[in-house]
């Protein structure tokens, strides 16, 4: 998303997720200037110079760039050292209080250990799983696991992923025991379950958004030009439904499914990850009696390290 001054000068780009959190009049630091959001239209955030100083700075979440296996491995190693009380370097020192709190409230997982935390909140029943396998694989794992959980008991699921693990929130309580977890993360019937979770989930729909844009279906306007004809606009989720209802064999839909299968639900990588997990230990921490932010600490630690 572009950031421009009201006089038209372009400042640069920020991520949509950042601007989405801002309200009109909120100021943030961008491109070395204190700016204030005036309005937000046609994928452009219009700003003016702000008088008040704000500490808000846009942050790139790394978009869709996933952690490589090597990096995931390195992070795990750092965590293992931290688990043993060794904090090397300024970054680890900075994280020390958080990791130590994590150790008290839950656990800092060692190599070959997969930490599973459960907790409850007003929002629902949460399960946090930390396989350290990268964002894409986690997305696949979360889709697969929530599908399999749904098989054993009807419920609705929402999941969130980051590079270190994933979280599944459901409206029903599940018994999180090692036996159950192992059966949800089993390689048996993997192929069948992948296809089913692909069709029921939102994965393909989300992937379709990008495809629709590349295919020119959701027109973003010519660079530097204002978006024209309002009657030519349609959202990608509506498009997805149109294709699904009236042209289910459409090549663009197939492309979306294929991309999900190749990326999030890459069978080979999923299978490898599941096999590694099957060999490792699973440690389950029920945070119900603890401070329930425990697992959220881990979550934010993950986002930063």
């Amino acid at each position: 998303m572009q950031v421009r001054y009201l006089n038209g000068a372009k400042l640069g780009h920020v991520e949509e997720s950042f601007v989405a959190r801002l309200k009109k009049g909120d100021s943030f630091l961008f491109a070395g200037h204190q700016v204030q959001l005036v309005r937000f239209r046609d994928m452009t955030a219009w700003v003016r110079r702000a008088k008040k100083v704000s500490t808000q700075v846009p942050r790139w979440m790394g978009g869709r760039m996933a952690l490589s296996t090597e990096l995931a491995w390195a992070v795990q190693e750092r965590l293992e050292q931290a688990g043993a009380g060794k904090y090397e370097g300024a970054e680890m020192q900075a994280l020390r209080p958080m990791l130590e709190l994590q150790k008290v409230l839950s656990l800092v997982p060692r190599r070959g250990e997969m930490l599973v935390e459960t907790t409850q909140s007003r929002e629902g029943h949460h399960v946090f799983v930390y396989p350290f396998a990268g964002r894409l694989v986690h997305e696949g794992l979360a889709a697969l696991m929530s599908h399999r959980m749904g098989q054993s008991q009807a419920a609705s699921f929402v999941y969130a992923v980051n590079d270190y693990g994933f979280e599944i929130v459901s409206n029903a309580e599940f018994e999180i025991r090692e036996v159950n977890l192992r059966s949800w993360l089993d390689t048996a019937d993997l192929e069948r379950d992948i296809l089913v979770s692909l069709n029921t989930g939102e994965l393909a729909k989300r992937q379709f958004r990008e495809i629709a844009r590349v295919a020119g279906l959701t027109f973003q306007g010519f660079p530097g030009d204002y978006k024209s004809s309002k009657q030519m606009q349609i959202s990608s989720s509506l498009l997805y439904e149109v294709f699904q209802n009236y042209d289910p064999d459409n090549l663009l839909l197939q492309q979306a499914r294929q991309e999900v299968l190749d990326r999030q639900l890459d069978q080979r990588r999923l299978r490898e990850t599941l096999e590694t997990l099957a060999q490792g230990r699973i440690v389950i921490k029920d945070l119900k009696r603890h401070h329930r932010w425990g697992s959220l600490y881990m979550w934010s630690v993950c986002g930063k390290s």
Binding site: E123, G124, H125, A155, S156, F157, V158, V169, S170, N171, A172, G216, L217, S229, Q231, M232, I234, S235, L238, L239, V242, F243, N245, Y246, D247, N250
Partner: protein
């Protein structure tokens, strides 16, 4: 069911009959139907807004390779609800057609005319909306009566865009109101709704190729959410 503060609002007596919500509005009994329409039994009149017929065709004409079928599907839905309510009159509160290209698209127009022929005994009145104005002259065979809004009829004022002051209760569309319902376990669902304020009721968009504009409940507003099968008050 909650009432307007002081019980002075226009909506009273809420009853539910197999998905429909029967309410008394300005002294008239009307039904809010899950097909995103309102039926007025006394005049056997069906009110609907934002059909956006031929939207896919218009987008196709603009170079987007969309599949056909959505307009036909909408016509079938409309037909079914006309039949179910036994309506003799249909009032479209604007945006019957999406764009000029919708009228030029032969296949789509054929479907629409064919449907019109089958239902020729139904009187169709169009209160033109912004899209209709751009679409231009409608073909004679369609047999639509054009009544520019705001048009006073009985207790109602019929117009496309919300707002304005009138003695009648304003029935309008244009906004495509929708509401997000949230549930336990971070469930959330966006659904079309009738958005009603003391002086006006905004209809949900009928066309299936239409998006939603999220509305926020205000102090004096009432929201009737349309799920696939029923109408419920939020």
């Amino acid at each position: 069911m909650k009432n307007w503060p002081g019980g002075c609002g226009p909506w009273r007596l809420i009853l539910k009959v197999s998905g429909d919500l029967i309410v008394e509005l300005r002294g008239e009994e009307v039904r809010l139907c899950p097909e995103r329409v309102m039926f007025w039994p006394r005049e056997k009149t069906l009110f609907v807004a934002d059909l956006h017929l031929g939207k896919a065709a218009a987008l196709r004409a603009g170079g987007m390779p969309l599949p056909g079928g959505s307009t036909l599907h909408d016509l079938e839905r409309l037909d079914a609800v006309l039949q179910r309510c036994g309506a003799e009159r249909l009032i479209v509160l604007g945006d019957a057609f999406h764009a000029r290209a919708s009228l030029r698209a032969e296949g789509t127009m054929q479907e629409i005319l064919c449907w019109r022929k089958r239902r020729e005994q139904v009187e169709i009145i169009l209160v033109p909306g912004n899209h209709d104005r751009r679409a231009g002259q409608l073909p004679q065979e369609l047999d639509f009566i054009i009544c520019p809004g705001p048009w006073r009829w009985g207790p109602w004022t019929l117009q496309h865009e919300p707002g304005g002051v009138s003695e009648g209760h304003i029935l309008c569309g244009h906004l495509h109101p929708g509401i997000r319902l949230k549930g336990f376990g971070r469930q959330s669902l966006s659904l079309p709704c009738f958005y009603s304020e003391p002086e006006q009721t905004v209809f949900p968009a009928f066309g299936s190729l239409t998006g939603l504009a999220r509305v926020r409940p205000k102090r004096l507003s009432r929201i009737f959410v349309v799920t696939g099968e029923e109408v419920i008050e939020k």
